[in-house]
């Protein structure tokens, strides 16, 4: 086999299998019992705690940490799952630094919050290791609900509905359930096939029939679902990707970052995955960071993440930016792509310098520069992809009022396809709250 370690182009084998395995280990390894006890001892059990307010699912954080202190991590896990059935995944992927941990009063006290995310993982891992589902279903109501999209919103919605005794059919367009948890999150945040294990565990509630590989608008329409079911929940996420419309963006080795990430997540052998020698990621959000860091972990010699605005406008949190920098990703700001060049394959990408005016408007300075790139990953955002002429869309998202009610009768929506921050934890909250609203409607008429 030829040595491809330093070869140009998009090639596998830049690092040894061991090095790649080491790179893709757990980003936040689980706390041991002793570590958890020490971390839990730091919680002040605040009154009306700011961390709870900051949590989109309003987990009673002081209570669950106190339950860990009391030697009952299982009870702590139950406290978490009561509010957030995907508490295990949220413990791994939540940007806690901008949510609960940012609100922790220990930041004021000593600039070091209680490790809420890792404690949550400790508690939820304890429950999930029990291999039994902790909730039981209410008596069957005879009501049937269709949930479209088996991502965080759909899963949370389906679980809550099943708990209330409704019969749920859960559809997903992909082969596997989980949505972005399965296809869209950096591999080092959810190791050991956690997303799939979590879905299996969640379905343990019973009363949820899963159908994958069926897409809304192809296999069925919303109208058909309205006719066949007592209620419908749409949690399809953002299936489409934005494209900048650059000259050369269809060249080989230029692709959407989400596809690169999904391929990584689904790969059995990461060492067999090809990656460029010089990789340029276009974008400044979490997806861009996930793509850039993983490209580096696969062995790319240089990875740049280029964002058209300034650092403060980046979608990626400060923690994520640091994470990228720590892993050797160079972050370039105020540069917008103008074109990708190459014969058949990507060879170079050109940017123009930008400035943000006092009105917040972005203008170009005319100054251009080019970067050698044998792989370009585009991460400039995802967009709604839904084939339904009847459902009301506003600003590119499904319009909802209250707990996810759409303009269509008995049709709710939640998750990334509706307004609000595109976070797993927000999607869980929306799915859960829609389920409660549906339950009220279904039982009270």
């Amino acid at each position: 086999m030829t040595d491809t370690r330093y070869a140009s182009g998009v090639k596998p084998g830049r690092l040894s299998g061991e090095d790649i395995a080491a790179n893709f280990t757990d980003m936040h390894p689980p706390l041991g019992d002793h570590e958890a006890a020490v971390a839990a001892d730091r919680c002040y059990f605040c009154h009306d705690a700011p961390c709870v307010t900051a949590c989109p699912t309003a987990i009673d954080i002081p209570l669950f940490i106190r339950q860990i202190q009391g030697g009952k991590p299982g009870d702590a896990g139950r406290t978490i799952f009561d509010q957030n059935i995907l508490g295990g995944m949220c413990a791994r992927v939540c940007p806690t630094e901008t949510l609960c941990e940012e609100a922790c009063v220990r930041n004021t006290a000593e600039e070091d919050p209680v490790e809420i995310g890792r404690l949550q993982r400790y508690a939820t891992d304890t429950v999930m290791a029990g291999n039994t589902h902790p909730y039981t279903r209410a008596a069957p109501t005879g009501k049937r609900v269709a949930v479209v999209g088996a991502g965080p919103a759909g899963l949370a919605c389906a679980h809550r509905l099943a708990m209330h005794g409704h019969e749920v059919t859960l559809y997903d367009a992909r082969k596997k359930p989980g949505g972005l948890n399965e296809y869209g999150i950096a591999a080092y945040k959810t190791v050991d096939d956690f997303a799939a294990r979590e879905v299996d565990w969640l379905l343990g509630i019973g009363g949820i029939k899963l159908e994958t590989g069926v897409k809304l608008g192809e296999a069925f329409t919303i109208r058909e679902l309205q006719e066949d079911f007592d209620a419908v929940f749409i949690g399809v996420g953002l299936g489409g990707v934005n494209r900048p419309g650059l000259p050369g963006e269809t060249l080989d080795n230029t692709e959407d970052a989400v596809d690169f990430i999904a391929r990584l997540r689904q790969a059995n052998d990461k060492a067999a995955l090809p990656v460029g020698k010089k990789v340029v990621v276009v974008g400044g959000g979490m997806t861009a960071v996930d793509a850039a860091v993983q490209a580096k972990m696969l062995g790319a010699e240089s990875v740049s993440m280029v964002y058209r605005r300034g650092r403060d406008a980046m979608g990626a949190s400060l923690f994520e930016q640091d994470h990228a920098a720590k892993n050797g990703v160079s972050i370039v700001t105020n540069a917008a792509p103008v074109g990708i060049a190459g014969q058949v394959v990507t060879e170079e990408i050109t940017f123009v310098r930008t400035e943000t005016g006092p009105d917040g408007k972005l203008t170009t300075t005319g100054e251009e520069f080019s970067r050698e790139a044998d792989q370009v990953l585009l991460a400039i955002g995802q967009k709604l992809d839904i084939a339904s002429p009847r459902i009301e869309i506003e600003n590119g998202k499904i319009k909802v009022s209250g707990p996810g009610r759409t303009n269509l009768e008995r049709v709710w929506a939640g998750g990334d396809c509706t307004p609000g921050e595109d976070l797993t934890v927000v999607a869980v909250a929306e799915g859960r709250d829609a389920a409660e609203d549906m339950h009220t409607m279904l039982t009270e008429g």
Binding site: Y44, F45, C46, H47, P50
Partner: protein
């Protein structure tokens, strides 16, 4: 550097930190290490009478109570007096004392409550050259079942009797170690004084069960499914010890009786507090058992630099200084009015003061939308709970209302000193002269 040299009953030691009679002082090896580490003196682990030594359990001897981060706050033990041969101990004591003439070596003794027993052992102890003896009338477990230890300390007449024997058969200072497992500590202290004892030391350990094993349904430490109460010590018992020490120090019958303070001394500050309440020195055990002998270095440097800051040149300068401030509740000034003050700069907005006041006290703290916590003077009774539960030291303080100011809670002006004895609500109030 302030001089830490202490003279306790004529026994000189380079500092007031002695190791209490306990496992750390059970043998020559440990005591030499302690002296090398800087301890001012030791009270050798309690000797029993000649003959086959006592035996200890062969399962766990200690149980513990923890604070945050598994910080050991209280320790309980069911160990007995030394289980080594009397003559081995005596020889070791003699050797150590000869090698460390500048350190205090006190020998703790516990033999049956019979004159013959004391008459037999005291000359042997005298012969070691040790500086004095401490009578163990405190151990609340095991030996007390055999009529020794706290079984003696709970009967003032016995204390006096044994103290008298000791003064009769022993020429050097006699310290009586008191048990706290008694209703009124002044009684045994008075008995010790009447018996001619030169000093008392306190407190010995408190009857305790540290925890219950909920699987075994047995107290811990558990020996083959059973547990026995032990003796409790460590930081958790310090408040009890300080109170008992202060009672002896301010009791007219025992005032001036030298006291060696024991009970949870962990840092220099603890020692200074015991000494301020009248102790001529302190004895330490749990801190050493938790952290090793090196802890004495912090005690020495801390006490010394504090004395420098205060301008004290010798420990005698501040020993007993706080005793006149210990009084009965009835003499406390009811016209001393304070209000809690929350420093917004220091507040971390945890809301514990609010929860404590709102749920369990006087609803005297308000909470705003943006989590600003403020004291409502109209409701604040100055209970201090908010100060105590606040995780940030110094964030909440108590501010005294000046004389003549109106207390918004009562609508009354702050007046001159007045206490319960003359208060109109007191049925037994002493009427002011007409």
């Amino acid at each position: 550097m302030a001089d830490l040299t202490t003279d306790f009953l004529g026994i000189k030691s380079p500092n007031p930190f002695w190791l209490a009679s306990a496992p750390p002082t059970d043998k020559e090896y440990n005591v030499r290490r302690a002296f090398e580490a800087g301890w001012g003196g030791v009270v050798w682990k309690t000797l029993g009478e000649e003959g086959p030594p006592v035996v200890n359990v062969n399962g766990p001897r200690y149980g513990a109570i923890y604070g945050a981060d598994r910080r050991l706050l209280g320790l309980n033990n069911i160990e007995l007096i030394t289980d080594r041969d009397l003559y081995t101990n005596l020889e070791e004591i003699k050797r150590v004392k000869a090698d460390y003439p500048d350190r205090a070596v006190i020998v703790s003794i516990m033999v049956p409550c019979e004159e013959e027993s004391w008459k037999a052992i005291l000359p042997l102890v005298e012969e070691t050259g040790a500086d004095g003896i401490e009578l163990n009338f405190g151990c609340p477990h095991g030996m007390s079942e055999r009529g020794m230890g706290s079984a003696v300390g709970q009967v003032p007449e016995y204390i006096q009797m044994v103290a008298e024997w000791c003064k009769k058969y022993y020429s050097k200072p006699v310290i009586v170690k008191l048990t706290p497992n008694i209703t009124d500590i002044r009684k045994p202290a008075t008995a010790a004084k009447l018996g001619g004892a030169d000093a008392v030391s306190l407190i010995n350990t408190i009857n305790s069960i540290t925890s219950v094993d909920l699987d075994l349904m047995a107290p811990q430490p558990t020996i083959d499914g059973k547990g026995s109460h032990g003796g409790y010590c460590g930081p958790a018992v310090k408040p009890i010890a300080l109170s008992m020490v202060s009672e002896i120090a301010r009791n007219p019958e025992t005032h001036g009786l030298p006291i060696s303070g024991i009970g949870g001394v962990t840092t220099w500050r603890d020692a200074a507090e015991f000494m301020a309440l009248g102790c001529g020195n302190v004895q330490v055990c749990t801190a050493a058992m938790t952290y090793g002998f090196r802890v004495v270095q912090e005690m020495i440097s801390g006490l010394s630099s504090w004395m420098d800051e205060k301008g004290y040149t010798s420990t005698a300068d501040f020993i007993g200084m706080a005793v006149p401030s210990v009084t009965d509740w009835q003499h406390l000034n009811l016209n001393y009015v304070t209000k809690a003050r929350i420093s917004q700069d220091d507040c971390i907005k945890c809301g514990r003061c609010y929860a404590a006041c709102e749920d369990t006290s006087h609803q005297a703290i308000s909470m705003s939308e943006d989590r600003t916590f403020e004291v409502i003077d109209e409701e604040c009774v100055a209970c201090n709970l908010c100060v105590n539960v606040c995780p940030v030291e110094g964030c909440i303080t108590m501010e005294q209302l000046p004389k003549g100011a109106t207390d918004p809670r009562t609508g009354q002006k702050v007046g001159d000193y007045a206490n319960w004895t003359t208060h109109p609500n007191n049925p037994g109030a002493v009427k002011a002269a007409e």
